[in-house]
Amino acid sequence: MPSTLPDGDPVPVDGSLPSGALASVGARGFGIYVHVPFCASRCGYCDFNTYTASELGGGGAQDSYADTVLAEVALAARVLDAVARPVDTVFFGGGTPTLLPPDDLGRILEAVNKAFGLAPDVEVTTEANPESVTPASLRRLRSAGFNRISLGMQSVAPHVLALLDRRHTPGRAAAAAIEARAAGFDHVNLDLIYGTPGESGQDFADSLGAAVAAGVDHVSAYSLIVEDGTRFAARVRRGEIPAPDDDVAADRYLAADEALSAAGFAWYEVSNWARSPTAACRHNLLYWRGGDWWGFGPGAHSHIGGVRWWNVKHPSAYAGRLAAGGTPAHAREVLAEADRRVEDVMLRLRLAEGLALESLAPSGLVAAADAVGSGLLSVAEYERGRAVLTLRGRLLADAVVRALLP
């Protein structure tokens, strides 16, 4: 079951933004997110806004999806007309974007290019499920302009993949990564999930080893979260499977950092490691650094100049809004100065570059000194005027954020 959206303020039907929001669009980068809300089947743990064909009553929604998104692209072009600038990053996420024909994805990318222009060094990523790509489809994506791909590997242990309801075989994700590189992708990522009940330390070590051996330049490792309303949560509640254990998750995280560091990766965000600074996902960084982006598609979130908004969730509601000529936005919030400061600390602290101590309130500075004392913030970085999490601090990042904020 997809999770629910936050409450918020209404959005004008033409999608227009308060004039203040347009003042400095792109100062911290400008990105595009395209949500593709379709999956072949739903994994039990997943609460992303995604639907299977049978849930949507057939494949019709998928067939017309690209055109629907084009309508929103046109709307964005109108709203941002005065301030439009070339796009630094584009990210197709899901769901499973690669459930759509590569040409559909290409058409959307081309529309974005027409509307805003793509920067010369633009990063264009798509997420993909390992079983949803082939060497041929990867080549077509590459020639459509995609230069980065992120594959949901999760694990190589068969029993873990089974518990996670994954459709691919243990070796498929690494194979797809190799195929992607062969197709000319500059950057390839593999997503791992750790802490799945029944996963042993060795299982996870094997998964890390397989990811590294696939020659990718980026790995994301996420701890399995039991999201309310998911099938997985229901099974845990009924006692069919044990809840993931936080101490185990901490061990796995340390194991990930160790194995990846040894293989030449460095963390740049709590859950993300890259083989070189240029391999870091720039679209991801844009989120953490408070950049501007427009999110297309049902349930997609956007942020432009201190205004956050989110679209209606259901694909047919989304299509309906656009067909009627209005914005698909469900609600928005205009961030107050205080909210922005909170977000800044909350997001930036997750990055290896951390944040400047001077951006903290006096009470936050005291807490930062404390956190250095208890080994959660790096001493060396602190002396350089920055708050940067240590390895142990990364595991307690939310607690540090709470402490640094008034």
């Binding site: 996420y222 936080d246 998750a249 990042a397």
Partner: protein, 627 residues
Amino acid sequence: MPTTLEPGATDPGRIRNFCIIAHIDHGKSTLADRMLQITGVVDPRQMRAQYLDRMDIERERGITIKSQAVRLPWRVREGDQAGYDAVLNMIDTPGHVDFTYEVSRSLAACEGAVLLVDAAQGIEAQTLANLYLAMENDLTVIPILNKIDLPAAQPEKYAEELAHLIGCQPEDCLRVSGKTGEGVSHLLDEIVRQLPAPIGEADQPVRAMIFDSIYDVYRGVITYVRVIDGRIEARDRIKMMSTGAVHELLELGVISPEPKKAGAIGVGEVGYLMTGVKDVRQSRVGDTVTINSKPAKTALGGYKDPKPMVYSGLYPIDGSDYPNLRDALDKLKLNDAALHYEPETSAALGFGFRCGFLGLLHLEIIRERLERESGLELISTAPNVVYRVVLDDGSEITVTNPSEYPTGKVAHVFEPVVRATVLTPNDYVGSVMELCQGRRGTLRGMDYLSADRVELRYTLPMAEIIYDFFDQLKSRTKGYASLDYEPSGEQQAELVKVDILLHGEAVDAFSAIVHKDKAYNYGVSIAAKLRTLIPRQQFEVPIQAAIGSRIIARETIRAIRKDVLAKCYGGDITRKRKLLEKQKEGKKRMKMVGRVEVPQEAFIAALSTSDSPGEKGSGGRPSRQDK
């Protein structure tokens, strides 16, 4: 001279003062209403409204609507006294185990008692205790079996039981139904026939006993008295004999059932006095009222200062509510002479009050009223009794708070004990005895009330019954047993103070004085409870139970290792910020004990005596009893 039944002019020979002793729900209110109706003081049309009205207030205000005294004129209908005019004063008794003293004063205002028992249920422990109290006061007891209209009524069976208890014949038990009215007029006749008339000295200085005193927002304190000697007149200045305080009398009257001003009340009569004082402490139950211009020399016997038996710390969950808590207590005090409190500071809980109560139920009523009427959220610390500690040098201290318990140098400790009465179906006798023995009880006696019901009499340390005793009793007897107890002096005992240390720091709110044989159990169970209630911190937190410097139990809360959401959540940053704000709010509701963050809920759950977390109140609760 024609017979007059006016207040101040009624011949004491025509007066009958009585109360009704009954268990809750056995039908006292219904019967009382029926009496009002039959004696004609309210007409049937008013009746219904009046009845409902009172039910509402009672429901709303619970125990606070206490005694009333209603004056009922009655002309005997049958028998050789038929046609005789009498005045009946029906005096209500307050309802439960914590107010034994107040019950005893109500009884002292009467010459007789109607012992009302539900003919389908039989007598309950509290009723029995009050019956004994009435018999000790030499009251004439009229046993009645109520609800005889019920198909399930077993009047024969329970008549035997009552006869056995009172020492009368089963056929002496009257049979009535408050609901249908059957037998009620006969009961009124019998009250006139069987109860003695009050006797007093009309020409002596006034002596009147206060049997109830309530605070009314509009009229100040209303004092209910029973005149023993002399005659109070509306223009008198009255004097409280315990304090010597003199008050102007603003109004005097009788209740019938509305307040009616009167010019005077004389020997044997019951009425109310209003002086405009604002605090029931100035007009205390049990005190003797006399007239300032011609005062009595000696007070009536039996006056006692209500003494708190159980203490507990009350703390606002939100520290900034402290002034509100103080105001609320000040307000409640006006209506409750037994409530004691003084400011107290706890390292763990902040600013609050050490409060003294008559018993656990009293504690719970006060706590509930504070929460409900003043919208306060409170933590109450584990209730404790009052200890008398004799030190090695012979000096003596009274301990009302475990944190004041002296370390070392203790020669003897005395703890209060109660005489408890348990009525139980005989199937559960073994189980009840086991419970009482486990609570350091001494069996004083055992009687069969009937073939299948047993009365057990125990002496028990009071400290043992304020800790989930009642819940245990109920669960062991499937709810059938009933309990009553009254304070009964003290005994020497081997007691120790157990401290609970969190990360090396004693948490005063969790200290307890317990018998040395139970110290280990207490320590282990509270440490284990706390381990599950306190969230993991960034460092390891040892929880220890200690007697002095000796550690008797230990648990460890392991350090938290992961507190980060490591998941891909794309752009929904609003949700993440809201979650963060919620977490920060939650943090504000934590109490800091040294460096350890303890959620309020942990205090509440650890201090509650019942095992089910979230259950309100302090488990060992005697249910509301006779009214």
